[in-house]
Subunit: 380 residues, 2 copies
DNA sequence: TGGGTTTACTGTATCGGTATAGAAGCCAGT
DNA sequence: ACTGGCTTCTATACCGATACAGTAAACCCA
């Protein structure tokens, strides 16, 4: 049986189509328009998706008719199935989107990503690693053309699903894996610069406040580097690269991020150490700002009594009083690079370009920005 | 011809399926699994989507086989087409996602939305009103189950497309429209409280700094309220409701938001007025903070010389020195209400519930939070 | 033993598009 | 008149699932 016209409402000679906004009155599809105009469905499809395939006159007629019928353009879901691409890419974030949005640095990355995405016309779909047993797991069930995996636990179910779907993907702020493009910043190098800066200022009693969503927490020995997130490991590694050879053994405190009370508690604990450190290397500007505030609350002056160095150079760094010395990274560049890598990967797949040989790993530079939160070690 | 098995690779008696990660080696679909297990495709589908429709034993066998074949679950695009739902909802934001992400208040809303969305398992897709002539317009071409329209120009092409698609939608911070659910805050009431507070403190020379992404800009007469965004109109209305009857005619300055230099310029212009105002009512905390800083730069004390009131009670309000008196609104509640309204609308559609009668319009309360940026008018 | 329910699967018809290989008409060149 | 090459449009075969009606066997109670 011929498809379309025969089983549609509008075949009834009378012609007039039921009108005006009633929900689901026999939906308008390409076929509806085709019947009305008297051409094949394919031609109508071309009118929308490949204008060069039909005469301008006919196309105009088709578009006009579509307009009259209130057609909203080819159905995205159907188009996605037929074409094999959806026009959206996913970003896999932490467990809770809510905390991601409250993190100024994460939103900075998202801003960069959406900026880079704008010219491509791709939409951005937010995914979580949330392990909730909610029948639907976005990473498995949402249609996307590719994904950015941003600073996630590599072992999470969500990343496993994305892998399984064999989607183009790019790892951001995560340990590179063979065959998967990745974008990272030079965490280790930046950390070294920060540590060196402290040594240059004469500090010998140095503390490290290191954060990672995955344990262990509390006091850390310099040896326990496994089980930490990649970024944590890299920064910690960089600090130690410089401190240990100089004979400085830092106190390392590891705490769970995104829990303001715990942050402050960690800061207090640090300042209450028997041999109070004269300088603190912080995992992020966020925790650094907590340290600064906590220090000020207990009557310590920054930087005179305590030098503090952050990481990331997020907006809070310059807002802080005193302005924070920190390791700068270029989020915008990170976002751009990530999008570039992902779109390249998507294109590669669609053009059948084989060769996974070129799984490029981008490493963006970091640099130390010296502001007002660091100064020479106090004379003892 | 029977579909499936006959035109697939795995019918070759030999059984062994080509293996290991080569791209596109005859994709694994429900049919592949069905053939392998020896059941119908439908049963395999049920194994994934409706576990109660088959015996646990068979389901286990199917799942195991799927696992072996590296099947990643029903294809989202195909499923979306067949089921008519995608598992994602869209949020339509300003022209540039990039500015949306840099706006602390917008991200607060997104945080609330994603928080409210988490338990539903729906993903969040970001859409822009971007008028770029980029063949693909997300609002038209991305598959979603519904959309939140957040503080957008109601006349934009993107909203027009969403309307046209007849998608469930909810207007947020926008003029309600008949038949469309909406969520707003009591901008007008809040503005009245702010203005009244100033009057109570004895201020008579009051300025208003009003922002709207859509023109006109510069000095505004009290009569030109058309062409402004809904929120701007409401807040302006509220301020004037109180000021005018009290015989106070404010100077109104309107500027374009998200352009830091312009913000500061507007603030300077305002402070340089021949009869310098003793108090400023600001459209947002962001602009209020610019006013405070600008005032301090030109040597004015806040609040002794100049009282400043913000709007929104965003994080910056408490960070500011002095802490900002502002009109509080509950973003979290707004996000929750918006999601609730949208999911309700989606459910209503799918259950064929007719009655657009209940197009509810939520109006959330606002309240004045008095902090340290306001005080009695200085004696002249 | 027989009718009424359940349980467990299957068959067929979509969902609304796009890809691709033609077919028909037309025009220039030889 | 024949050939080749455009430009336009059409026919057919998918894309990979779900909905729904139906069927066969098993179970249940009188």
């Amino acid at each position: 049986m011929q498809r379309g016209s025969l089983n549609r409402a509008n075949v009834t000679g009378k012609g007039e189509v039921a009108d005006e906004g009633w929900i689901g009155v026999a939906r308008v599809t390409l076929q509806t328009i085709a019947d009305r105009v008297g051409v094949s469905r394919m031609t109508v499809s071309n009118a929308f998706s490949r204008p060069d395939q039909l005469s301008p006159a006919l196309r105009a007629r088709i578009l006009t008719t579509a307009e009259e019928l209130g057609y909203a353009g080819p159905d995205p879901a159907a188009r996605a199935l037929a074409k094999g691409s959806t026009g959206a890419i996913g970003v896999l974030l932490t467990d809770s989107l809510q905390v991601a949005f409250t993190d100024e640095f994460a939103t900075g990355f998202l801003a960069a990503v959406s900026g880079a995405l704008a010219p491509t016309g791709l939409a951005l779909t937010l995914l979580t690693t949330s392990p909730q047993q909610h029948a639907v797991i976005p990473a498995r069930d949402v249609a996307i053309d590719g994904a950015l995996i941003y600073s996630c636990d590599p072992g999470s179910a969500a990343t496993a699903w994305l892998r399984r779907r064999n989607l183009p993907m790019v790892l951001v702020d995560q340990a590179p894996e063979p065959g998967v493009p990745s974008v990272n910043i030079d965490d280790r190098g930046g950390a070294r610069l920060a540590a060196q800066h402290l040594l240059d200022l004469g500090h010998r009693r140095v503390a490290i406040l290191s954060s990672s969503a995955i344990g262990p927490f509390g006091r850390l020995s310099t040896m326990q580097l496994e089980g930490l997130s990649n970024t944590t490991r890299a920064r910690l590694g960089g600090w130690l690269d410089v401190l240990l050879p100089a004979g400085v053994t830092p106190v390392i405190l590891q705490y769970q991020p995104y829990q303001p009370e715990l942050d402050a508690a960690a800061a207090r604990e640090l300042l209450a150490l028997p041999e109070r450190p004269t300088a603190v290397l912080c995992f992020s500007d966020a925790i650094a700002s907590t340290v600064v505030r906590t220090a000020q609350q207990v009557g310590l002056r920054v930087p005179e009594d305590l030098s503090v160095i952050g990481f990331d150079d997020s907006p809070v760094a310059t807002r802080l009083e005193p302005a924070l010395t920190t390791v700068h990274q270029d989020v915008a560049a990170k976002g751009t690079a990530a999008v570039a890598a992902l779109t390249a990967e998507i294109r590669r797949r669609s053009t059948g370009g084989s060769d996974r040989s070129t799984a490029d790993e981008v490493l963006l530079p970091t640099r130390l920005v010296i502001r007002d939160s660091t100064s020479s070690a106090p004379h003892r």
